[in-house]
Subunit: 165 residues, 2 copies
């Protein structure tokens, strides 16, 4: 198996498309997404998280800083740009922890998960209408706070970071 | 913020719907999903994983056993039913590790993540057309095999399990 026998686009949108594919005698609807990045960002003894409105959740969620890849963009450069814009941190030592499907039963999104340590202060530059609270979790308190996490990439990233220490 | 000002359904499908919502002066397209379950299933000294065709990935992926919630279904009962059908394991001690959004920027799916230990052999009962390989990772080898994981819930679940040992 590598490609479907037939593909019909049934929705094209700004963040994702939806296609209907035929694989032999099966039909599958799939959400197509450009891919994304997320960063376990460590600065001054704390992991830096963002709390922002998530319409899909009907409330703000606390998450790793994350972004959507643009066409042809290098994942690491994209994550570095997003991190500086969203939380005002730059530089440091970057490690790719892996690339992971977020919900592969019906969604092709792959997320590049990074660890960024020894970050330095840069300049926050939010897009208009973007409303992001920055939340710092001291590394020593991470274990105790894992129960507050409500997002899978954030859980995985924090656990991966704790395991490397 | 709790609800959008207006919602238009732009796609209804068997696995998910797509809606366009108006929140003040913003428009958002959101994939609506019934929610899901995934299980870190431990049997006879090994974590039991499944390798199955994922059309969205264009190939088979190795993942925690997982399923989609049906309307009004209790998440734990759903996960227990799926685990017996898919991998033929039942009984044991169940713990809910948490409930997590899988990709909250545009998808409302929440996944209930369970740990099931001391499982017993039951009867596998795959649906027609379902093609699932069962893969056992001995608990002692989990650390060394984490680099093979390509799926975020599987990474998070295995790391959460390792941390509790």
């Amino acid at each position: 198996m590598t490609q479907p026998d037939a593909t019909t686009t049934i929705h094209e949108g700004p963040q994702f498309d939806v296609v209907r594919e035929t694989w032999g005698d099966r039909e599958r609807e799939i959400v197509r997404h450009a891919g994304s990045t997320a960063v376990v960002a460590v600065h001054d003894g704390a992991v830096v998280l963002v709390r922002q409105t998530r319409e899909a959740a009907r409330r703000p969620l606390l998450e790793l800083p994350a972004g959507t890849l643009e066409d042809g963009e290098d994942p690491r450069e994209s994550a570095q740009r997003e991190l500086e814009e969203e939380v005002g941190l730059r530089g440091g030592r970057w490690t790719e922890l892996g690339v992971y499907y977020t919900s592969p039963g019906f969604l092709d999104e792959r997320m590049h998960l990074f660890l960024a340590e020894d970050l330095e202060r840069g300049e926050q530059d939010l897009e208009e209408g973007e409303d992001v609270d920055i939340v710092r979790w001291p590394v020593d308190e991470l274990e105790a706070r894992l129960g507050e996490v409500e997002d899978m990439k954030t859980l995985a990233g924090l656990l991966a970071f704790l395991r490397r220490r």
